[in-house]
Symmetry: C2
Subunit: 472 residues, 2 copies
């Protein structure tokens, strides 16, 4: 196969022998994208095989995401059997579905058959039951049984994320026997960082990091150098809990066992990194009121998912407004109240959000627990009080000068203190309460917290002002 | 050493041979904490050596965090040389400083000397320059040089996070020579998952996953099975960029090289997991307006760190209020405007925050780039328009019934549409603009976005109402 001029130009983008498809900002390079697009349009399979097939699965994934829908499907078609299905685990859900829907089920069955079981499960789990069954039906028996077993575990469990390929040896083998087995056995998984030790019934006895084997003499018995597995991961365990074990004990891989303590798979750190990212993503999005939205979601589903949050917010906003309407006579007499109202609400809302953010995050990472909750609540109240005093002076002075009214300034100042203390308490107590009730503190806190701060702020401000200026 | 009754009771909490210091919620078990506290008070070093010394570094860290300050320092004192300094990398900064300040510098120098260099750097980097120099001065020469070199790299760089201990062999060695070297050499790092291949000047040639060595025959040449390092990490590289390479290429460890391509250290996935967590933490906290706050920060530093954000917010709130004050005559004539105003502002603020959250997160994960920005902007505007229409009808109806005024309902409805479209555009364009200017879009977006939505909302609502009811 001769290389063309275009290939040379593509390679020129490479440095230190490695070809880089990204520009400085981390986007797929525009010139590379143009060349690939032209090659797809021209059906130049030669170019595509030379420049696309050798890409890393994540690079291919990024390329697929950068192409428009027509070119994307055409590329998958032109690559044929050389299309690396692992790339499907690297694109977002909408694009994965599009490609999978486009390909015939036989092609998917053949492509998925060559993947590690965790990647295969990742692709299969999003499909309709019918498609999934059709694809599974076309796979070899042992493969099918293994994938079905992983798919039977609950969504987001360790059993779903695990790889069913692993290396396991009996405890009475020597290091030499193990080395010979590794050198001669054909069907071993591609990469592994640990060897497991099992009894004849597949019961997990322990594990061995590879460096322990490399450093031991050939005649050493495996059982003498293996480490007992102190934190086996149950296949039913939630993936977030498993991720926390990896973080706590700095694991690279961990055995996954069934109810009887039998080894059924291995969970690896790269899957755990994905779980950690998903978890952080979830927290951020829930705090922002956008649920589990993805960038590739359709307009219709985005409208629906955001509607609920905005509707909840409308109800709470109406609640605040009805507090204001109670005091409409006061506002009519003193229009400055209407002007200053939003400042009070906004300061309370922001201070409450600050405390809530710290609280939700600390609950998620486990930094906030029963031993320090009381101390943290005291701390937040103190911070609210101190900042309340500072902003009382600032805002009191501003209101005094703005409306030439010292008394109004004093009222604004007093309300600012009440408001920021209430915001601090709301910001920490509401997430703690939601957490205690078993709810995710990230999901509803911010609507509740701003309702508390808005209502407290409006009520304190308009109430005190009414008492001071109107009734008094 | 005989075990006491208390030891037996402590062990009873253990299952499957492993002793668990945590209760179901993941907190340190209350009974264990009480026993440790009593043992510290009684100076029962026997109990502490049997039950605390064997804890994993992260468990010891959690125990230290759960104890109050006096008991914590007493425990460190009682454990003496058996106190595992690695636990200092597992507690938050305030506690780490407290313990380090309490211990004499010789003790710290001795304790740190036994750690992996990345852990040692992690502890040293937070210290005052004077303390750090004193500690380094008491360490052996080679150790000192290595730690100093890592500390010379910029904060948050790969050079700071790397471990300077690694296993490297020349390319002309055979697998057999390598195995013999691994078996006989004493000074090798504790765990490693990769062996590096270097030339006599320490220039990095490639790397070898351990399973490749295990699967190859003794006479195989290293250069025949090594893989060229396609993504060497420069010591100056920001740790977040390094973390992204780990995620993209599913790396377990990676070579860190200096400007001349010489191998200076190794970055491992457990450090990268910490970086990923820190990054997510940063995004969440910046969106919530609490900077880099930690739960253990003092009241004074928390007040200071939150003050700035609240001060910015005060300025933007005053800006919104001055828009309201322009229309004070209209509000005086029609008090319903003052009552409905907060609803308009709150809906705009929440819709803007939704879009901003999705945008900031998509920029952080690299999902939003120049190829889909235009499409996503269109999508957000459409979502804003559609939800605007829905809430226009809802809120228009509510306002009509509340104030028995159809015209007011129509005005509220029209403003709701304008408001949610403006919120969508503000929520996506501001973070994109900040990102383009090289600023972190998470840091300032939410103050700017709510300013935009507040000002648009108040101006549109009061302006249209004034024109319709007052001037018209």
């Amino acid at each position: 196969m001769t290389t063309t001029d275009t290939d040379e130009r593509v390679r020129a983008g490479s440095h230190s022998g490695h070809f880089d498809i990204y520009d400085e900002d981390g986007n797929v390079r525009a010139d590379f994208l143009t060349q690939v697009s032209h090659a797809i349009d021209a059906g130049d399979t030669g170019f595509l095989h030379r420049n696309v097939v050798r890409l890393h699965e994540s690079e291919l994934g990024d390329l697929l995401e950068a192409l428009n829908s027509d070119l994307r499907l055409a590329l998958v078609g032109l690559l044929g059997d050389d299309f690396d299905m692992t790339a499907l685990t690297q694109v977002d859900e909408a694009i994965r579905r599009e490609i999978v829907d486009h390909l015939p089920n036989e092609r998917i069955a053949a492509g998925i058959g060559g993947l590690d079981s965790d990647d295969a499960v990742y692709i299969l789990e999003d499909l309709d039951k019918q498609d999934r069954d059709e694809i599974l039906a076309q796979m070899p028996f042992t493969e099918r049984v293994r994938l079905r077993r992983a798919l039977d575990y609950p969504e987001s469990s360790a059993g779903r994320r695990m790889q069913t390929e692993f290396v396991a040896v009996p405890p009475f083998w020597t290091v030499g026997q193990t080395l010979d087995y590794l050198r001669e056995e054909e069907g071993l998984p591609e990469d592994f960082s640990q060897i497991f030790v099992i009894d004849p019934t597949f019961k997990l006895l322990g594990g061995l990091a590879l460096d322990r084997i490399l450093r031991s003499k050939r005649q050493t018995k495996i059982e003498d150098i293996m480490r007992e597995t102190t934190h086996p991961i149950s296949a039913e365990m939630d993936q977030e809990e498993a991720a926390r074990l990896f973080e706590q004990y700095d694991l690279l891989s961990a055995a996954v066992v069934d109810d009887n303590g039998r080894l059924v798979g291995v969970l690896t750190i790269d899957d755990v990194v994905d779980v950690i990212n998903e978890e952080a993503d979830e927290d951020i999005k829930r705090l922002g009121g956008v649920g589990d939205e993805e960038l590739s979601d359709s307009v219709a589903s985005t409208v629906r998912s955001r509607f609920l949050w905005l509707a909840v917010n409308l109800l709470t906003a109406i609640l605040s407004s009805s507090i204001i309407s109670v005091f409409d006579a006061s506002i009519e007499k003193m229009i400055a109240l209407a002007v200053l109202m939003p400042i009070i609400a906004s300061m309370g809302g922001n201070a409450g959000t600050q405390t809530m953010t710290v609280t939700v995050r600390a609950l998620a990472t486990g930094d906030l627990d029963i031993y320090n909750a009381a101390r943290i609540i005291r701390r937040e109240a103190t911070v609210g009080l101190l900042n309340g005093i500072v902003f009382a002076i600032l805002m009191g002075a501003i209101a005094t000068f703005w409306f030439h009214d010292l008394q109004l300034g004093v009222v604004v100042g007093a309300v600012m203190v009440i408001n920021l203390v209430a915001a601090a308490l709301g910001g920490i107590l509401l997430p703690l309460l939601l957490n205690r009730m078993g709810a995710d503190p990230a999901i509803a806190s911010s609507a509740f917290v701003t309702t508390v701060t808005d209502c407290t702020g409006y009520f304190a401000f308009l109430g005190i002002a009414t008492w001071w200026f109107v009734i008094h």
